[in-house]
Amino acid sequence: MIFRPSHFTAVLLFALFASVVFGITQRETPKRMVGYGAYCFALFVLSAIVLSWVMYFIAR
């Protein structure tokens, strides 16, 4: 089986998996785990989008 995601899909998958692990391992209560996981996910995705636009303007 070969999986060829788009770059953005790969970013979303990476952010999802990493955020789940960060949330569970870095916080103690379930509520704080969910909050921290969501925070990490948002930071992963937003930073990828911002850096993508920065690289777009650098390349022009």
């Binding site: 089986m1 070969i2 999986f3 060829r4 995601p5 770059h7 790969a10 998958l13 990476f14 999802l16 998996f17 990493a18 789940v20 692990v21 960060f22 569970i24 391992t25 103690e28």
Partner: protein, 136 residues
């Protein structure tokens, strides 16, 4: 003079019995197993799904599983891959991720596999901390 008791140490005492490194070793060998050993079923299942998912998607993207290192960066990637425990040795044994593929998604897949190993180490250490009582 009244004696002062350390409640934090007393609370951690029951977790100190037995082989405290079992969750660490089990968690490294099999993703999520460290949490299963200490009966944290929900956390273990989520960790296993995340780490296994990342590793399998990395292989499906034709990512490379490092077998040797000729440069410093290769060595770091090899260390990351070894964090996958039995998944690493199993994939090497059946020849998965052995052929370098020159497509963009293969490069991402290689990173997925390395990061899955690093996340697995974090999860195993977390299981060890739960076992020793360092984390609630």
């Amino acid at each position: 003079m009244p004696t002062q008791t350390n409640t934090g140490t007393a609370a951690a005492q029951p977790a100190q019995q037995g082989f405290v490194y079992l969750p660490l070793i089990a968690g490294w060998l099999v993703p999520g197993a460290g949490h299963f050993v200490i009966h944290k079923w929900g956390r273990g299942a989520l960790l296993a799904a995340s780490i296994l998912g990342m590793f399998i998607l990395g292989l499906a993207m034709q990512g490379k599983v490092y077998s040797s290192a000729h440069e410093v960066l290769d060595f770091l990637c090899l260390v990351g891959d070894l964090g996958n425990g039995l998944l690493y040795f199993l994939s090497r044994a059946i020849g998965l991720g052995g052929e370098p593929v020159q497509v963009t998604t293969a490069d991402w897949g290689t990173r997925f596999i390395v990061v899955a190993g690093l996340l697995n180490v974090i999860a195993a250490v977390d299981a060890h901390n739960l076992r020793t009582g360092r984390k609630a």
